[in-house]
């Protein structure tokens, strides 16, 4: 990064910002009924849902803001939103 040359920032450096602290609701990926459609990953605005293996997805709570899109769009209702305990 170079502030002296007009604020040039390093690629992908926002990963230092752990937006998971914003969460009021938390998605639980049960990994039981998953059919592997991948919509949770595709629709995640944070890009923090990953596929571990076929029909098994997980979320990175470091960044997940708890918007609930994954749970809402899950084809097999396998993701549950619960209240975040802080």
């Amino acid at each position: 990064m170079r502030l002296d040359l007009g604020a040039i920032a390093k690629a992908g450096s926002s990963k230092a910002n752990q937006t998971g602290s914003w969460r009021n609701y938390k998605p639980i990926f049960h990994q039981v009924k998953c059919i592997g459609c991948g919509l949770c990953k595709i629709y995640c605005p944070e890009g923090c849902v990953t596929m571990i293996e076929k029909k098994k997805y997980t979320v990175d709570y470091t960044y997940c803001k708890g918007c609930g899109i994954c749970a809402e769009e899950c084809s097999s209702s396998d993701i549950e939103m619960i209240v975040e305990e802080k």
């Binding site: 990064m1 502030l3 604020a7 920032a9 390093k10 690629a11 992908g12 450096s13 926002s14 990963k15 230092a16 910002n17 752990q18 937006t19 914003w22 595709i42 629709y43 995640c44 605005p45 944070e46 890009g47 923090c48 990953t50 990175d60 470091t62 960044y63 803001k65 708890g66 918007c67 609930g68 899109i69 749970a71 809402e72 769009e73 939103m81």
Partner: protein, 304 residues
């Protein structure tokens, strides 16, 4: 045809729009940008207008962009992109990257329209992507030229004498197409595969391309964050946000609406920005006017 190779993004937890950005929960624009980058791959240079996307991705010293990125001002994303494109040519680096210009609806259709028109008219090899969330969200939900009819914003409030925004949404895709450019497309975050296909198709075409992606803003639309995809889907299914491609001036492909028709109420009632239409009998007449807009779209683009 271009010789630039489009690479798929790395399969890992991080997309080309890195997490840690500060978009609101359920942000449609963050999702749209993630999908555009995912389809475009790493061999690109992107420009961006001032607005939500720029603000929530580039708070110094952090940046969410995993691809080369430049933000200059509100109204010049297209002109800056033109500068990038000609520089690559002049430096003999044209095979190094494809250029993608980005802007919100205000930065594209209002304050940036002149620069966009110039870019389209001059034939630059650039894909312009407008993330359309239908108001000036970054400054606090003020009305833009792409705000829909009767929509409530902070500068088009409803009141005794007002039903919200008095004007129809500017037909930006037609304006872009009127420049005689090879490719114009609309898309919606509800249909990610469609975004991917269109971005890839656009980048395979040499010359100026325009894409407008409907991107719900839970904050400005006063919709639930988890409903971002549902809201976006209903806009398309009702015919209020027609999804089509225009190639060399001709509509070549559309996404059909549901049969039977989904009434616009289904779309309007889950958003606080249209809540005033449901509070009095007179609001019904206004909803009917919005239904007519949807019906005209369905007829114009053959969506039925």
């Amino acid at each position: 045809m271009s010789t630039t190779t489009l690479t798929a993004p790395k399969e890992q937890s991080c997309t080309l729009l890195a997490p840690g950005h500060t978009a609101c929960t359920g942000c449609g624009e963050a999702l749209a940008a993630k999908l555009v980058l995912g389809a475009a791959g790493t061999n690109i240079i992107v420009t961006d207008a001032t607005g939500c996307l720029e603000v929530f991705t580039t708070k110094f010293p952090q940046s969410s962009w995993e691809v080369p990125f430049i933000h200059s001002l509100f109204e010049n994303s297209a002109a800056v992109a033109a500068g990038v494109e000609v520089a690559l040519k002049a430096l003999g680096r044209q095979n190094e990257a494809k250029v993608i210009a980005q802007g919100g609806d205000g930065g594209t259709a209002d304050i940036g329209l002149q620069a966009l028109s110039g870019m389209l008219e001059r034939g630059h090899d650039i894909l312009y992507v407008c993330y359309d969330n239908e108001a000036y969200m970054n400054t606090g939900v003020q009305r833009s030229g792409l705000t829909p009819f009767d929509c409530m914003t902070t500068t088009s409030p409803c009141g005794e004498l007002s039903w919200g925004n008095k004007h129809n949404k500017k037909d930006m895709p037609s304006i872009a197409a009127a420049h005689g450019i090879p490719y114009v497309a609309t898309a919606s975050v509800a249909f990610p595969k469609d975004i991917e296909n269109k971005v890839k198709k656009a980048l395979s075409i040499t010359g100026p391309k325009y894409m407008q992606i409907h991107s719900p803003c839970p904050l400005g639309w006063r919709s639930k964050p988890q409903l971002t995809i549902q809201v976006a889907k209903l806009a398309v299914q009702t015919g209020l946000y027609p999804i089509f491609e225009i190639e060399n001036g001709k509509v070549t492909k559309v996404r059909k609406v549901t049969t039977p028709k989904t009434p616009v109420e289904e779309y309007l009632k889950i958003q606080g920005r249209f809540a005033h239409l449901f509070k009095s009998p007179k609001g019904k007449e206004e909803i009917q006017k919005i239904q007519e807009i949807a019906d005209r779209n369905i007829e114009k683009y053959g969506l039925a």
